[in-house]
Symmetry: C2
Subunit: 401 residues, 2 copies
């Protein structure tokens, strides 16, 4: 078996944890497997580098930021190789250039384009554990790029795809993917398996276990993913194309706190107004989520939608600058809202999920402010104060059996 194992920054934050990871990898290696390890920068290293840069130049070019940040993972992989060497296991550390991992040119948020597998295969053939820097790549200008948030997960999946790995194991500080956040819903259960599509909806909606780019790539190349704990030997959750027949109607309930609702009240009921609003926001790269249009009094209409809280202030500013052109009487913003979603591949053929969710929320006395659905998801916007109660009510309704 060829196994790609990815460990995040907290799993390699100090000597003890580095050796813990080394031993886990060596266990698989000694069983005769080919082992490729992908590491993030140690602990708070990346934050520390960002601080150093900000002190020198808060507007440093992203090209130079990537040059700086890439040192973090290179430090991790070198130290991991030293740890494995001290345990008498042949190994080699490689950075993105040595692999080589080719990406698009966009610094700070690059995408993989092509991964050369020759060097890694050669090292594996020499029976070495191969330790690769996560999060980074090189572009066509032979400059270093980084992948942005969740980049090391993506590195692991991309390597697994390029190497035709038998499994890609993502190690985290939880034991797998749960039906809901156990801190909010105490009776949440760990899932044995989940489909790529379900995982994508959960990742996008704030489940935070896997970055959605890595899940998208795993789906595209059919990489069998498993989310496991770096601290225990528990089985973890498999993410794959099709899960077994007994899969539940609803797989999980997700909470996304990074939401704000913006409303434009009293717009003239003319064609093109909605287009203008969203064109203004698109120009500023602000993503709009759940959208609701309703008819107001006196032949006016109201348009409300959600954005992330990070974007809310800028969105309101740009809209207020254009308030007259948009014919809005008032522009309101509320950042005390959250999104609760139920996700499940099973609901594609079952219309009852939305109804069941609304019923559960009604019984829990939770007011629904907006609704959005996809084929395998129902999302409601509610007040933040109701979040935990809503999560438990919805989870109990679908998943407590």
């Amino acid at each position: 078996m060829l196994i790609v194992k990815k460990f995040g920054g907290s799993s390699v934050a100090d000597k003890e944890r580095i050796f813990n990871v080394a031993r886990r990898c060596i266990e698989d290696y000694k069983k005769g497997n080919d082992v490729v390890v992908v590491l993030s920068a140690m602990g708070k290293t990346t934050d520390h580098l960002i601080e150093m840069a900000a002190d020198i130049n808060p507007n440093a070019s992203k090209r130079e930021m990537d040059m700086l940040l890439a040192t973090g993972e290179q430090t991790s992989v070198a130290l991991m190789a030293m740890a494995m060497q001290s345990l008498d296991v042949p190994c080699v550390s490689l950075n993105a250039w040595q692999v080589a991992m080719h990406t698009s040119s966009k610094y700070g948020n690059a995408r993989f384009k092509r991964i050369d597998s020759e060097r890694i295969h050669n090292e594996l053939d020499a029976r070495k554990i191969v330790i690769v820097t996560g999060f980074q790549g090189i572009n066509k200008y032979e400059n270093i790029t980084t992948l942005g948030r969740g980049g090391s997960d993506t590195t692991a999946v991309a390597l697994a795809a390029a190497l035709h790995a038998d499994a890609c194991e993502i190690y985290t500080d939880v034991e797998g993917v749960y039906t809901a956040d156990p801190r909010i819903v105490p009776n949440a259960k760990k899932l044995k398996e989940i489909t790529y599509d379900e995982m994508l909806e959960l990742a996008t909606l704030g489940a935070k276990v896997l970055h959605n780019r890595s899940v998208e790539m795993a789906k595209k190349y059919g990489v069998p993913l498993v989310v496991r704990s770096s601290l225990t030997d528990a089985e973890g959750t498999w993410v794959k194309e099709v899960v077994s027949m007994e899969s539940m109607l609803v797989t999980g309930v997700a909470l996304d706190k990074n939401a704000a609702r913006i409303a434009l009240i009293g717009l003239k009921n003319e064609p093109g107004i909605a287009f203008k609003i969203f064109a203004l926001l698109a120009k500023k790269n602000i993503n709009v989520d759940v959208i609701l249009q309703s008819i107001g009094r006196d032949n006016t209409k109201d348009i409300s939608f959600t954005v992330t809280r990070d974007d809310a202030k800028e969105a309101v500013e740009i809209l207020k600058e254009n308030q007259t052109a948009l014919t809005a009487d008032r522009i309101e913003m509320d950042d005390t809202v959250v999104k609760v979603s139920v996700v499940g591949a099973g609901m594609q053929t079952n219309a009852g999920v939305a109804a069941g969710m609304f019923e559960a929320l009604y019984n829990a006395n939770v007011n629904i402010r907006m609704i959005a659905t996809s084929e395998i998801r129902v999302t409601v916007l509610i007040n933040e104060a109701d979040a935990d109660r809503a999560m438990r009510a919805v989870h109990d309704h679908f998943l407590d059996n």
Copy 2:
């Protein structure tokens, strides 16, 4: 003009110093010059990385050490680029792979084999200041190497040679090369110029201004070197092939404290004994310097020689293990000795230098224990307690005019 400027770790140890270096480089750039900057790792970074590695594995492979250490210079060059960007000057940082700087395979102590100049020329043509990592290279296996002690000086000279630079400026914390260490000899004078050969003797003998590998390379490729202060605008010292006619008979006086004397007493007066001694030491990679053989009593002989203090203990151990085979009555070691040398291209045609040195030392009541000479150097081994007095006496004799 194309100028290569090299700054050591203390010159980029903090934000203020980074900006100081940035401004010096920009000054040259704004005069219309092409500027290439070579940087070491910041302050104590390399020491800190070595400590981290030693904590994980005191016997880590040199390949992985180089992978780790190379992050130090990469951090420096990225931060320097950010500093220059904040001063609105176009620039780019490059590591050894990006340049690319090809070296031999020997990790921890690699030698340059070939430097590609295309990337740097392209960046210079785009009117950017190019900031290059010192101390590191890549080998034919596409692994990262480091150059060992004084590596960043060598990087600067190698780049200057490859780019046919008009000058290679080495910035240090002194204003240039002095006729002696000013902390010991208060009336030491800064030299305006010095030949490569003189500088080589001084570097080898512990003047510590330039690493001798960099001087050797500068001599080989005729790179005009200048040693300058990173703190003042003083002129510095030029190192070149031929210096002006008025050059002095003696250029400088150097003190090397890293010396220990080992003596083997009462050896049988047989052929091959000396060979055995030095073969044993050579096998352990211990360099032997000044050698003296003298006839003892009863048809025995004594052999004494110097090694660096770092090697002294190991040298004595290996000799004691073989004491019987070497026929030595006693093996003695003295690490309270130092070497004082006078250096000057002028002495090639003047036999009086050695005599003048001995006279000066005699007048200062300094006992000479061993003597060695080259074409442009006279070295004496003396007791450490006499070092400062000897330095001043020799300096005054030749250079105080």
